[in-house]
């Protein structure tokens, strides 16, 4: 059990001249919930397709549950539950028959009704053909297929696509339950908020490259997106020298409002105390670093990269 759940080393995939995945090395530990994040077209599905041996690495390698993705694919798939992206269901098979398909292939006993109850598919829908399913119902069934047989590893490719906010919350709850059970969950998403809510760690993929791999908290610190605090005070002009305080990156004054950019979250209180010494603070607005800004700083276009770069330069200067 000491092998990582997923481990890629220099994984590279080319389609002709297109470099879809560019020497990605990442590790997903056992029992972890790992969010695989990135904009559409970043190479997330391509990476997942390599893990399941649907496609083969151009260079580098992938190991899943201790097995090579090519030689050990069958052993991997016996212990893995997968939810593919954009795959149609069998239109003439019922929901329960889809679960039976998984049970047959994995040679296990599964109670289809219990699995589908858990993913929130009504009993009536469970027994009818899937060609009348909505996208959300199809996604619930697909999740049920992945969960069937209590796999050691769940590989979910954009599991929340087609789900309404309620469905997304239920799916996150199921991911949490699975993780508590000791299941490793590897799931991809282009929605940062969803990943942040359930993941122990995230890897951010952009243009085929793994640009970051860490906990959300560490990423936020390392991303160069600095925490900002806004202070409304009686006499802003009385505040002097705040910009020189250790941990304060910059100060902007707009009427009675001071906008203070800090190096990290711990510096916010320093700024508040400093201002409070000089004048009366009448209001404090502190927001968590916008996760969208964080995400964009890793995956955005040149413009965003420049901005993130500028912020870092400011920190250093």
């Amino acid at each position: 059990m000491s092998d990582p759940a997923v481990e890629t080393r220099g994984l590279t995939k080319r389609f002709g001249d297109v470099l879809a995945v560019d020497s990605v090395s990442m590790t997903v530990e056992r029992g972890e919930v790992y969010g695989f994040l990135g904009p559409n077209g970043a190479g997330k599905s391509t990476t997942i397709n390599v893990l399941l041996d649907f496609i083969h690495p151009s260079e580098g390698s992938a190991r899943v549950l201790g097995h090579d993705s090519r030689e050990g694919s069958l052993a991997i798939r016996r212990r893995t539950g997968m939810l593919p992206e954009g795959a149609e269901l069998y239109p003439r098979l019922s929901g329960q028959e889809h679960i039976e398909m998984v049970a047959d292939a994995k040679n296990i006993d599964v109670d289809p009704a219990a699995v589908l109850d858990r993913v929130g598919l009504d009993r009536d829908d469970q027994t009818r053909a899937t060609d009348g399913y909505s996208k959300g119902m199809g996604q619930r069934l697909a999740l049920g297929m992945a969960l069937s047989g209590d796999p050691d590893l769940l590989i979910l490719d954009e599991p929340s696509s087609g789900l309404d906010p309620n469905g997304m919350a239920e799916m996150r709850e199921i991911i949490r339950q699975e993780a508590e059970d000791g299941t490793t969950v590897f799931f991809s998403s282009h929605l940062l908020g969803e990943v942040e809510a359930v993941c122990d760690r995230v890897g951010i993929l952009n243009n085929g490259r793994l640009v970051a791999e860490d906990t959300i908290e560490s990423l936020r610190e390392r991303s160069g997106v600095n925490p900002v605090i806004e202070l409304e005070c009686a006499e802003p002009s009385a505040v002097d020298g705040l910009g020189a305080v250790d941990g304060v990156v910059s100060v902007e004054r707009d009427g009675r409002r001071l906008t203070v950019t800090c190096r990290d979250s711990g510096n916010k209180i320093t700024a508040v105390r400093y201002v409070d010494e000089a004048t009366t603070v009448t209001d404090i607005v502190a927001e968590a670093t916008s996760l969208e800004a964080l995400f964009e700083s890793y995956t955005g276009g040149d413009e965003e990269e420049d901005r993130a770069g500028a912020t870092r330069a400011e920190v250093e200067g």
């Binding site: 399941l52 649907f54 795959a87 889809h98 398909m101």
Partner: protein
Amino acid sequence: MSWVAIARRDFQDARRSRILALVVGLFVALVGLLMLTGSTGGETPAEDALWTLHGIALFLMPIVMLVVAYLSVAGERETGRIKYLLGLPNRRWEVVLGKFVSRSLVAVLAVGLSMAVGLGIMVVRFDTVPVADAAGLAVFMLFLATVYIGLAVGISALTATRARAMAGAIGVYVFFTVYWIVPTVNPQDSVSYVVEELLGLGPKENLYEFVLLLSPSFAYDRLTNGLLFERAQDGSELVEPGAPFYLQPEFMPVILLGWLALALGVGYWRFRDAELG
């Protein structure tokens, strides 16, 4: 044995999609109609009716079975469902075999039920009923059907989209049944041109005949004519006395099985390492 589960589920799908009903209905209607309308005059009216059926099956069976099976693997890839099949611990050969078995079962039911109906009508209409011939014809037609299903599954395993699988299936039909008899450019005449005109050798009649029999349709034709009806479609003598073994009806199963093995083998060989994007 997960190929059994794949075959069972695929057959279930054929039942629910009414493909099965359609194909069985087509064959029952065809055989029924032939047996109902066949002349009761002549020396062997029942055998004549079977012989007519054989002549129609020669051209109808290939196209029907290609249609039955051409999407078996390519359809799964086009819809992305292959990711469910192969995200599960199914081996790729199990997918190919399961599909082949399931679609062949469609042919078994179509041929079996239609011939049963045909026999029933023959018993009522004709004085003598050649049960052995009818059974033999059923077996040989089924043989032909499974070879073309194998060709279709093999092509399907080579292709990732419906359009390409369809083009391949049509190509096989045109190649083995239409091209084979086009005057002057058909394989027989082409080979004779190479041998006699380009190489300047004497005529090699046995070779030309063997080339003709390389089409599974014509191999089936010789097999059935030679072993059941003992007459050729044009009424001429079937096999020249003293012809080599590879022209004998008894050798035809080798050609038919060869195509079956080649089609499934090449299809699987390419599918085994295919990228399912």
